[in-house]
Symmetry: C2
DNA sequence: TCAAATTGTAGGTAGACACTTACGAAATAC
DNA sequence: GTATTTCGTAAGTGTCTACCTACAATTTGA
């Protein structure tokens, strides 16, 4: 009888390394040779785990969401003092969003978006982010009463836009840490519930 | 005596073609061979106009701002009915931002941002956009009186973030035309003057 | 122990790509 | 006319890169 395959386990172990390489180097510069080197295996081993480089990249895009979702889940369950979770998330992200650097994968992906698989992975990722944030916005708004404001869908996209720009600001050194935090925090709050304290 | 050099003129003529190629293909896939083909010249002619491919790309980034600025200048001078120019711009951009497709160059640039020249070109571009928008926000706010809201700097970055996300939405087919317009329009208005009509 | 499958190692290949060189043709100022 | 420079064409070069093949070593169940 055959030796049992460790493929799934190996894939799971190597994905974080692969994803980080794509984040640091972008799609083209993360050559398969470089990926293998960082994983401390030979190239053809990567090709036993994924059919080609594109698949490695798509898996990395999925990984970006998984990681963020994990962080959030953890944060929300952490201490359930009944502080509004949307506010807690907003504050946390204003301070820490993009710290991992993994979001650079998104930039890399956007310039490869004419590849259908990559495009689809990005769509899925943004949709999942949007669903999550939209839910948070809705829950938050139930706890207060105010008049008209942009609907939840619009607000959620807007907040995603702020996160994106916050990352660009970090990437290019356009905004100081304080500036970024203020931007994300103030504008995010405004989109969240119309308050502008 | 020598034949007079047409270099500057040629550069100006070819830049739009080069920029469009980068926008459509991204940095790596816009090979020098492809650029030359689209320009209907041989590769070495491009190398007489720019020292290397990176320089062609940097010029294209600058071109993105020039083009946008031209459109805006035109729009603002067009009919000076004293409608608030910030509002006019916002409406116009909500409907048309990203239509040219040139902004895809920014995505390409972001995944090459570890090259100092490219990074610097992007910084400059974003700074110029920010300065312009910040000015518009400030002018708009002089025409009304309301209470506290995010300061002009924050609002301007926020609006840039919305534009960016609007582009991503278009790129990935995440948002319908109407959805994008609503998102940019509603959230933009909120950031502009706190109104949420 | 041994057949069957999975691992790891080494090397290679075909194509793509940024950039260069060489050279003849055309245009200008004198 | 002619010296001087720009312009256009053609071909090449060294390097990099995604992906593959061949094979030996290792691990399992029976």
């Amino acid at each position: 009888m055959p030796r049992p395959s460790q493929t799934d386990k190996k894939r799971k172990n190597l994905l974080p390394i692969v994803a980080r390489a794509f984040a640091e180097l972008g799609y083209r510069r993360a050559t398969t040779a470089e990926l293998a080197k960082r994983c401390k295996v030979r190239e053809n081993i990567l090709y036993r785990l994924w059919p080609n480089k594109k698949a490695m990249f798509v898996a990395s895009i999925d990984y970006v969401y998984e990681q963020a979702a994990n962080t959030w889940r953890e944060m929300l369950s952490e201490k359930n003092d009944n502080a509004d979770s949307a506010m807690r998330l907003l504050k946390h992200e204003a301070a820490h969003y993009g710290e991992s650097g993994l979001q650079r994968i998104i930039f890399a992906g956007l310039s490869e978006a004419d590849e259908p698989e990559i495009r689809e992975a990005l769509r899925k990722m943004y949709s999942r982010f949007h669903r999550f944030i939209r839910g948070q916005v809705a829950a938050h708004r139930k706890t207060i009463e105010t008049s008209v404001r942009p609907d939840e869908t619009v607000s959620a996209w807007g907040i995603i836009g702020l996160g994106n720009l916050s990352n660009i600001g970090r990437e290019l050194g356009l905004l100081s840490d304080r500036g970024r935090k203020k931007m994300f925090g103030d504008a995010g709050r405004l989109l969240l519930d119309g308050q502008s304290e």
